[in-house]
């Protein structure tokens, strides 16, 4: 009895946090998605009292707008594609790095990890502005690249305000979120397992694909979730670097709330994004669990 009480008490603060900052806002958004926009932004009242009779003033037209127009669904798909590509590139870049750090001598590891998280010490927006300078047509990168394309007789490339710029910056910003969980996973691997595999006849490639890789999957799923979700909803990077081509669903949601002042439709798009995210977390949670723990 005592034990159960302490369990409940321990679970209470996070549960309360989730209710207040996630469940309640989500329900408010759900309600908002069926309401009319207010005349000057915000929301119109969702009920009125006429002759002492309570009437609801709700509509499904916000949701119909989403379904009827291909623009938003297309943009959602494109954003999913961007986030997926970002996650893949991050995984490909982070894996060798995390593995190198995890297998380097203990005294070097802390320094290497410090280097990984060093970018966090400067402001996010400042770092994106830095990329604007790098990508700008007068920047060394563009000029260098166009010198090469010029020699080859190709059209000059414009890096700024492109999908490429958005992806590069998304990868840059989110890479540490892939490296850290992956490192945390790889670092825990028992080196005796690799010795055992080698002893039993596995060459270097087999040792990686049969032992290291499957054991690191939970780390990849964890990192994948940490990269994919913020990439999917991000608006600052496409705002600054994407131009019209690089726009993502996050920008549209922001536009609905800030510029178009259409909160109900903004709520619809947000809810769809939240639903997709929750689904993906559930899937990653299912696959991310290490094998064998279910039986144990």
């Amino acid at each position: 009895m005592h034990h159960r009480l302490s369990k409940v008490l321990l679970a209470l603060p996070p549960a309360a946090y989730l209710v207040v900052f996630f469940a309640v806002p989500s329900l408010l958004m759900l309600l908002a998605s069926f309401r009319y926009p207010g005349e000057y932004g915000g929301l119109a009242p969702w009920y009125y009292i006429d002759d002492g009779q309570l009437s609801l003033d709700l509509t499904t037209e916000n949701w119909l707008r989403l379904v009827e127009s291909t623009i938003y669904l297309g943009l959602l798909l494109k954003s999913l594609g961007f986030a997926l590509l970002t996650t893949l590139i991050c995984a490909l870049m982070a894996y060798p790095l995390a593995l190198t750090i995890a297998r380097s001598p203990k005294r070097h590891r802390d320094l290497l990890l410090l280097l990984v998280i060093l970018p966090f010490w400067s402001n996010f927006l400042v770092r994106i502005y830095a990329w604007m300078i790098i990508f700008s047509p007068q920047g060394a990168l563009s000029e260098g690249l166009n010198a090469v394309t010029g020699l080859l007789g190709l059209e000059p490339v414009n890096l700024m305000f492109s999908s490429t710029a958005v992806i590069v910056c998304l990868v840059y910003v989110h890479l540490p979120f892939m490296i850290l969980p992956l490192y945390a996973n790889l670092e825990k691997h028992d080196p005796a397992l690799l010795d055992a595999a080698q002893d039993l006849g596995a060459n270097a490639r087999q040792r990686f694909w049969k032992i290291t890789w499957p054991l690191s999957l939970p780390g990849i799923y964890a990192g994948g979730v940490l990269v994919f979700i913020p990439s999917l909803g991000i608006f600052a990077i496409p705002d600054l670097l994407g131009g019209t081509n690089g726009i993502m669903i996050g920008n549209v949601i922001k536009q609905q709330f800030v510029e178009a002042r259409d909160w109900p439709f903004g709520s619809v798009l947000s809810l769809v994004l939240t639903a997709i995210t929750l689904m993906l977390v559930a899937i990653a949670g299912r696959f991310g669990r290490p094998k064998g723990t279910a039986n144990g």
Binding site: Q198, G201, A202, G292
Partner: protein
């Protein structure tokens, strides 16, 4: 079949192996025994291929193993931590070496089933290692190392993680398994009791060198030097000086005990005046309030200094004069008594002139 020839290994200043020579016969249960840091694990890892000797050679069936990486050596290891793959079922763990060897599926399935029978865990094939007990994991680790029929099985302190009861049971199983399958075992342990119980022959190692290689009984009864005498079992080591060496006996002046004449187990070429030590097992010593005189025995009188109650036996530490103490033990066969003598009691002790073993 396995020959270690003049193998040395140095880590910086530290000499882990020094001119190690030994020969393991086919079908033998051979044990490397020694305290931690004696080089036994380095030697084992050198045979497996995870460590490389600086000089010397390691031959298996007359062919050098040194140029082969671990995965190409016909030698498998049972690791101290078992190193079972946590993401694979028991069956997949055991099938691992067979898949690496690219055997066909039906053959793999047949062999996995067979070896699971051998270690008496046929119903655990679909379990994950985490769901098994320590003893079961141990058996799976052995099954995995045996399934591809290595020429040689290396075992690195495989029982050290088990509790005492289970360890004894696993020792019996290991002996029987080795007898049944006939594969040569090279076993590493720091536990002298385990080594004595399991092995056909034991190499005692100390500071990177082989101290003695012998059968268990020979090692116990005739230790070749002080280290072996001290490391294996309880042993009284009485220092002295050789007075005169004869063909069948040697006269020795034991420090604080005076001159005695010993027979049997005398090392060759003992010179007069040379320092030596008599190694004497506590159970070879008779102890009583009074002992009848016997010509074949050496007789001493002393005072009980301390007693250690061990349950089945009590150890009596008897001072024979001038700081010379010997340990003797008596079985507690009398009902209801923890000890027969108390500290301060005067007792007589005796041992046969051929009971001990003289070492340099």
């Amino acid at each position: 079949m396995l020959e270690i020839i003049d193998v040395s290994r140095r880590y910086g200043e530290y000499l882990a192996l020094r001119d190690v020579n030994l020969r393991v016969h086919a079908g033998e249960f051979f044990t490397l025994l020694g305290p931690s840091g004696c080089g036994k694990t380095t030697l084992l890892r050198s045979i497996a291929g995870f460590d490389h000797p600086d000089s010397g050679d390691i031959l298996l069936d007359g062919k050098s193993l040194l140029h082969l990486p671990p995965e190409k050596r016909p030698v498998h290891t049972v690791f101290q931590s078992y190193a079972l793959f946590p993401h694979m079922t028991v069956a997949d763990n055991i099938a691992f070496p067979l898949r690496m060897a690219k055997l066909d599926k039906t053959e793999i399935a047949r062999r996995v089933e067979e070896v699971l029978e051998d270690v008496r865990l046929p119903d655990k094939a679909r379990h994950y290692p985490q769901a098994l007990s320590g003893g079961q994991r141990q058996r799976i680790a052995i099954a995995r190392a045996l399934v591809n029929r290595p020429r040689l099985l290396l075992l690195d302190e495989p029982l050290s993680a088990l509790d005492a009861k289970l360890r004894e049971q696993m020792q019996i199983e290991l002996i029987n398994l080795q007898k049944d399958i006939g594969i040569t075992f090279v076993y590493v342990t720091h536990d002298q009791g385990e080594a004595l119980a399991l092995s056909h022959r034991i190499a005692v190692m100390n500071q990177g060198e082989i101290s003695q290689i012998d059968e268990p009984a020979q090692l116990y009864n005739c230790p070749g030097n002080r280290f072996v005498a001290d490391f294996i079992g309880q042993c009284n080591i009485l220092d002295g000086t050789v007075i005169e060496s004869h063909s069948d006996r040697v006269d020795v002046e034991l420090d604080g005990l005076g001159r005695i004449s010993l027979s049997a187990h005398i090392p060759a070429n003992l010179h007069s005046g040379e320092r030596c030590a008599l190694t004497l097992r506590p159970e070879k010593i008779r102890l009583a309030k009074q002992l009848e005189a016997n010509d074949a025995e050496l007789h001493f009188r002393g005072q009980v200094h301390d007693t250690l109650y061990m349950g089945d036996v009590t150890i009596y530490i008897v001072e024979l004069g001038e700081g010379v103490k010997v340990e003797a033990l008596l079985a507690n066969s009398a009902p209801g008594r923890a000890r027969l003598f108390d500290p301060g009691d005067t007792v007589e002790i005796a041992w046969h002139a051929d009971a001990g073993h003289l070492v340099r």
